[in-house]
């Protein structure tokens, strides 16, 4: 076995000198650096076969749905005859539900814009990168801040009588405080104690979006009044 080639240290101001064996590595930039020894498999067949099977499952599932359930079709569009209620497609019914509580510029423009901006900046905010549990440090200050933010949010949404947001906000705040100092007690509280601040915020957002969408889809009837699902014009 031959010895490794000698390392030439280029100590020169000459810009044309060719350095050898240069390794300039930023672990945060290049993914390969973090790579540890682990088992690898050939993409063909292992991954390709799984992709094909996945595609087949999706197509078969959709085909079965298409055989058994017909896409809705109502009467021809008539601008003179407004249905009551007029509902948007389901993925916008959370927003339409907010429209019931807030002025249109808030529910239709401000809130969706805020949500999109918040999603885009996630990977650029330091709090999302460190992944430290919420209660890991400065517990007292965290408790005060979380408490104040909760009170402000609840006051804001309660002022507009938007109870479908107030209730989950209180529930999430309760879960956050239940997680405090939970490292030693019970499996659930141990799990809660590891949750980071961004995860709490996203969970809050998802719970609210789900509740608003479900209410808007299944529980709203004529005049956007509360009705039971079997009386609601569900499908859109």
């Amino acid at each position: 076995m031959s010895a490794l080639p000698p390392i030439h240290i280029v100590d020169s101001a000459d810009p044309l000198a060719t350095p050898r064996r240069v390794a300039l590595v930023r672990p945060d930039i290049r993914p390969a650096v973090r790579r540890r020894e682990e088992p690898w498999v050939m993409t063909f067949p292992h991954l390709i076969v799984r992709e094909v099977i996945l595609f087949q499952i999706v197509v078969i599932g959709l085909a079965l749905a298409a055989i058994f359930f017909d896409a809705p079709l109502q009467g021809i569009a008539n601008p003179l005859e407004t249905p009551n209620p007029a509902k948007a497609p389901w993925y916008f019914l959370g927003l339409q539900e907010l429209l019931h509580y807030f002025p249109p510029v808030v529910a239709g423009v401000l809130m969706p814009t805020l949500a999109i901006v918040a999603l885009v900046v996630i990977p650029y905010a330091r709090v999302n990168l460190t992944a430290g549990p919420l209660w890991a440090s400065r517990s007292q200050r965290t408790a005060v801040v979380i408490g104040i933010v909760t009170v402000l949010l609840v006051a804001l949404f309660a002022a507009f009588a938007c109870w479908p947001v107030v209730a989950p906000t209180l529930a999430v705040a309760a879960a956050i405080f239940a997680a405090r100092g939970g490292e030693r007690r019970g499996r659930l509280r141990q799990a809660l104690a590891r949750v980071t601040l961004p995860e709490w915020i996203m969970t809050w957002f998802v719970v609210i979006a789900t509740i608003l969408t479900v209410i808007g889809t299944f529980f709203r009837g004529p005049g956007w009044s509360l009705v039971w699902p079997w009386n609601a014009a569900v499908f859109g």
């Binding site: 690898w40 007029a86 993925y91 249109p104 996203m202």
Partner: protein, 254 residues
Amino acid sequence: MREMSLGSLGSRWRDTALYRSIVRHGIADTNRNGALIIFENLFLHVHPVKVRKKTLRFSHTYWLGGITLACALVLIATGILLMFYYHPSVPQAYRDMKELEFVVENGMFLRNLHRWAAHLMVFAAFLHMLRVFYHRAYRPPRQFNWVVGVVLLLVTLLLSYTGYLLPWDQLALWGVSVGTNMAKEAPLIGEQIRFLLLGGHVVSENALLRFYVLHCVVLPVALLLLLSVHIWRVRKDGGVQGPPEESDERGEIP
């Protein structure tokens, strides 16, 4: 006369100069051929030749991005077929829905497939985003791909929404009216945005034509371009990222 089985026919076909000019590798189950299958194929070579074994586990990604992509492919295929039967004009658009139901062979199946695939795509894309968030897979070096993904989610929503108007029934007209009335509320430019989108002040046949062009040309092209970037970046950023690992959590974040 020599026995002609299907197998021998296949192997004789694979020996022809024509076949060898198209596919340059053999079929023997060797790692070399496995590698050639991937990188001698335009479509498969977004994959690396080898992948980390654990990325194949179901809980690594729940295959949600794959489900979203499968829906997109189904939607493109069914969408092109539906375009053969559709006129973006009033009232012919609505009559075409009836034609699909009562005249065209399997027309209803085609429209159903397109509709349910669209709903599933929106839902799967949303779940895919949540999966990536809770696995913290947006962290460096994948920041930019997260942003591309958020834009892709918006394009998906717009595709679904523009398609919603095309049947030209009451559901379509009023569903779209509700949405575009929200756009009107944007300060300063709201009215102009709405006018640009609808080609008028109310949802009319101008709006139908504009939504049709957006739905069948502009947004699908945008989706395909962004999707290409998205999938290519997955590979460039080191493959799919599953749940965070303990050794990743030792704080090597800058």
